[in-house]
């Protein structure tokens, strides 16, 4: 089972904080992958917030293919960042890691956000397709102010490998996953966090309802609903589907994946709408065991569980910095001096939300709505 470490703060911080938290949870990750997604970046990306960052890796040749493709499609390269990797025993490096900031093609610069997002998605998927067969290109995200790094290996070693302990890369929201490979192959596209058009999530545990959910998402006709090298990828896509495509407020994400019983629903003022939603989105209901941690495009971070709470998580911290993690020891490492009596162990009906800048924690109870 994977270990999850998310931190949201009002100040920029280093991803090493997440990695050190993962280190304390080492019993639960076997080095089959580390995924890092960073949002609201500082340093060299700080001044380029409105421009999309293409995050990925691959071979030198793959890099050239990316260059050619981006040139051909009118993207203008503004900035290049590459981790200053060093040789670490136990990490088999790829030839090329990159985070490249582009300006939109000229004819797209004044289009709507939605159109721009669709262009970024199409571009990411095309590049993924170009390099998927020979594994020469892996693209993890292409979105403004979001950077993703993934690699196979022990999280702490990978932190050193990428030079994150020395680098100036910092962000206000950082999600990290230490992967415990279970019944899927060790493959970089199976590594969380998953990201789609501003929506991001990571999950631990198996998803027993994976196949019907995957079939439902695949049949929505949305190009971004693809991949599914991990059963957890569907959580990101359900989030995207409910929030972006159906325009439902975030709490309804919980109502979709863990719907209330008809009796419980009766107490909610929006019971009639819930009933329709439950019926129409019946195939998206999960059965766990899962703890889901995610963020939305506005930077709200959240945590919730399956309806049996088979994978409990913890949200804790203090004003200005909160950690959302799968184990308490991870939080102890990230936010050591906090008042533990204020730790939140979300119950099965709870959706814990932390708005951007981490000033407060909201616990939304599904029974009350």
């Amino acid at each position: 089972m994977c270990r999850l470490a998310a931190i949201t703060s009002d100040k920029h911080f280093s991803p090493m904080e997440n990695i050190l938290s993962l280190e304390t949870m080492k019993e639960g990750n076997d080095g089959s992958g580390l995924g890092l997604t960073m949002k609201d970046l500082d340093g060299e990306f700080g001044k380029l917030k409105e421009y999309p960052i293409l995050s990925g890796m691959g071979t030198r040749n793959g890099g050239r293919v990316v260059d050619e493709y981006m040139d051909k499609h009118g993207f203008e390269l503004l900035h290049v960042w590459a981790p200053k990797t060093r040789k670490i025993k136990g990490v088999i490096p790829h030839e090329y890691y990159f985070a490249r900031v582009y300006d939109y093609p000229e004819y797209f610069r004044y289009r709507s956000t939605q159109e721009k997002e669709d262009l970024l998605l199409q571009t990411r998927l095309s590049l993924r397709k170009l390099g998927e067969a020979d594994e020469s290109i892996f693209i993890f995200s292409f979105y403004p102010d979001v950077l993703t790094l993934k690699e196979v290996g022990d999280p702490l070693l990978l932190g050193e490998f990428f030079g994150l302990d020395r680098d100036e890369i910092k962000a206000k929201i950082i999600f990290a996953q230490g992967r415990q490979n279970t019944n899927y192959a060790i493959y970089l596209y199976a590594c969380h966090p998953f990201f789609l058009q501003g929506y991001c999530s990571m999950t631990n545990g198996e998803n027993t309802a994976f196949v019907p959910i995957r079939e439902f998402l695949l049949s929505r006709g949305f190009p971004g609903y693809m991949g599914y090298n991990s059963d957890s990828e569907v959580f990101t896509h359900i989030l995207h589907y409910t929030a972006r495509q159906l325009k439902l407020p975030l709490p309804y994400y919980k109502d979709v994946i863990t719907p209330l019983t008809n009796n419980e629903m009766g107490k909610r003022s929006d019971a009639e709408a819930l009933q329709l939603l439950k019926q129409s989105l019946r195939p998206l209901c999960i059965d766990g065991p899962n703890c889901v941690i995610g963020f939305t495009p506005d930077g709200t971070c959240f945590m919730m569980h399956d309806s049996k709470k088979l994978r409990p998580g913890i949200v804790a911290g203090s004003k200005g910095k909160y950690a959302l993690m799968s184990e308490e020891c991870g939080v102890d490492r990230a936010i050591p001096g906090r008042d533990k009596s204020r730790d939140i162990l979300p119950m099965k009906y709870d959706l814990v939300m932390i708005p951007p800048m981490a000033q407060e924690v909201k616990v939304w109870n599904q029974l009350q709505g």
Partner: protein, 552 residues
């Protein structure tokens, strides 16, 4: 000289030609006559024989030959009265002196066409082989990486939906202050019922005896009102008693309309007096046991009660045509009929068609997928049962349910409509007694609900029928169990209360067993419709055809 015909018994059949041979034991029989009286086909009769016996009496052996008159029970060798193997004789015999024994060398089908008419019977397909449903295994067991659920502890929702479900993008929802509200202006929200995923399929008042139908109906009402299990039952063609139509229990029943429209005069006249809507309306276009063939209620079953409910004279054959005669094309057959039926109940009742399993099921399905008023599609596979049909229809016509259902489900998946149009699967569910396992397998293949008929007759009323052509007398009105007869002398053998009790037991047990299947697969919150990764089969070709795992 005696003619050769009498000497060699030519043109007579021996018991070896009969599908069942009656084994009668002289030494045990006390000649009470119960067996011959109870035999529904008069395949056995008392006979008097003269027997030569050598006997000796007294202290010294003095064998003498005497001729004695004895009474025996004898099997007749007339194919019109062949022993159907029902074993009513064995049931009534106080001394276990008689029982039929199956004869695999029989030649029933060579002879059972007297008068130039094919062999007609009731029951099911005579195919005792293991069906695809019984070969499917549940192989995705939650082990360590995800904990198996506890069927006794965790909350399970073994429920399904019957009715057209709106696609999420068409839901009439708006957000007000962060909360969703339903905006009903100009938007039709189709009726949807939450039901238990196993329903009792269509068996008519008429095909079934009064205590049988009543027993099923009472069992259903009890399950709903006392056990809180929303099990529904379909009426079959032939209407329903007017008192039930006007009662609060109507909501547990699906009313069927078929090509003969029997019973609909009464139903239409009851409409203004209905205090509840029915669960749904089923339009029957076909039946798995006799695809493309019409219904038939034999004259001998059309007694006073039936003639009243159906609005026809007594003692006439009631034939329903193979198709709805007033209609011309699929658009008319399906769309107009669904519209008319929906309109009759103010669009508050789901209306769906039932067809027999066929290669063309997907054409029907696609038509329905485009019709926003179609509430579901029920597909009845070749292993379905019937009260009366030609043997050839039952044995040789039809399509197995597993691949037919799977094709339809995957077709819906391609269109993204797998959650919009529920599929009801029937035909052979519980054929070997594995009701919950067969139902779960069909659900994992894509069914929203399954429908049962023969199983409930066997389990609740001890129907003798099986896949070895045992009994299968449903068409004759001589059902020895009193299940499919209108003869009071026969149906008084059946206690409606006992039937109702068994119906309740069957569904409660199925509920437990379904949980025992879903729990180890880690599913409890929603019915795992289409969770095909949970299924496997030990045949590669079948696995490929059904797009599931092959295991060995």
């Amino acid at each position: 000289m005696e003619p050769a015909a009498r000497l060699d018994n030519n043109h007579q059949l021996s018991v070896r030609e009969m599908p069942y041979i009656v084994r009668w034991r002289d030494d045990r029989c006390k000649r009470c006559g119960r067996c011959t009286a109870a035999c529904p086909v008069k395949a056995i009769e008392p006979a008097v024989k003269v027997q030569r016996v050598v006997q000796s009496e007294g202290p010294v052996p003095t064998p003498t030959s005497v001729r004695r008159v004895i009474q025996v029970v004898e099997q007749v060798t007339d194919m019109e009265r062949y022993c159907v193997g029902c074993a009513t004789c064995a049931l009534v015999c106080p001394n276990a002196a008689i029982e039929p024994e199956m004869n695999i060398q029989h030649k029933l089908l060579h002879y059972k066409n007297k008068g130039g008419d094919g062999y007609k019977r009731g029951g099911r397909r005579n195919d005792p082989s293991i069906s695809t449903l019984d070969r499917l295994k549940f192989t995705r067991i939650s082990m360590l990486t995800d904990p198996a659920l506890d069927a006794g502890r965790h909350e399970f929702r073994v429920r399904s939906l019957l009715g057209r479900i709106l696609p999420p993008s068409e839901l009439p929802l708006t957000t007000v202050d962060g909360k969703l509200v339903v905006d009903k202006r100009d938007k039709f929200i189709p009726p949807v019922r939450e039901i238990f995923p196993i329903m009792i399929g269509s068996m008519s008042v008429g095909a079934l005896s009064p205590p049988m139908w009543e027993g099923l109906a009472m069992g259903i009402a009890y399950l709903n009102e006392v056990e809180g299990m929303p099990v529904v039952m379909a009426s079959g063609e032939g209407g329903m008693p007017a008192r039930l139509l006007k009662s609060r229990f109507l909501k547990y029943f699906i009313i069927q309309i078929a090509s003969g429209y029997f019973g609909w005069d009464e139903i239409i006249h009851s409409l203004p007096h209905m205090i509840e809507d029915p669960a749904a309306i089923e339009i029957k276009y076909g039946q798995g046991a006799k695809p493309g063939d019409g219904g038939l209620l034999m004259a001998q079953k059309v007694l006073k009660l039936i003639s009243k409910i159906r609005g026809v004279p007594q003692f006439v054959d009631l034939a329903s045509p193979p198709t709805h005669q007033t209609q011309y094309s699929i658009e008319e057959s399906v769309a107009k009929m669904i519209q008319s039926m929906s309109m009759a109940w103010g669009f508050r009742v789901p209306v769906y068609p039932k067809i027999s399993g066929t290669q063309t099921a997907r054409a029907v399905l696609n038509n329905l997928a485009r019709n926003p008023y179609a509430a579901a599609l029920s597909i009845d596979g070749e292993d379905g049962g019937t009260g009366a049909a030609y043997n050839v229809s039952m044995d040789k016509m039809g399509h197995p349910i597993a691949s037919n259902l799977r094709d339809c489900y995957l077709d819906l998946v391609k269109q993204g409509k797998q959650n919009e149009l529920p599929l009801i699967a029937a035909g052979g569910v519980g054929k070997k007694g594995n009701l919950a396992a067969n139902a779960a397998a069909l659900i994992l293949l894509g069914a929203s609900c399954v429908s049962i008929g023969k199983y409930i007759m066997q389990a609740a009323a001890d129907c003798f029928g099986d896949e070895f052509n045992r009994c299968n007398l449903c068409n004759t009105g001589k059902c020895p169990r009193g299940i499919t007869t209108q003869d009071p002398k026969l149906y008084r053998r059946l206690d409606a209360d006992r039937v109702a009790e068994r119906v309740v037991e069957v569904f409660k047990a199925a509920d437990v067993e379904l949980k025992k299947i879903f729990a180890p697969m880690g599913r409890s919150t929603e019915l795992p419709i289409g969770m095909s990764d949970g299924l496997s089969i030990d045949d590669k070709a079948m696995a490929d055809r059904l797009e599931i795992n092959y295991v060995c």
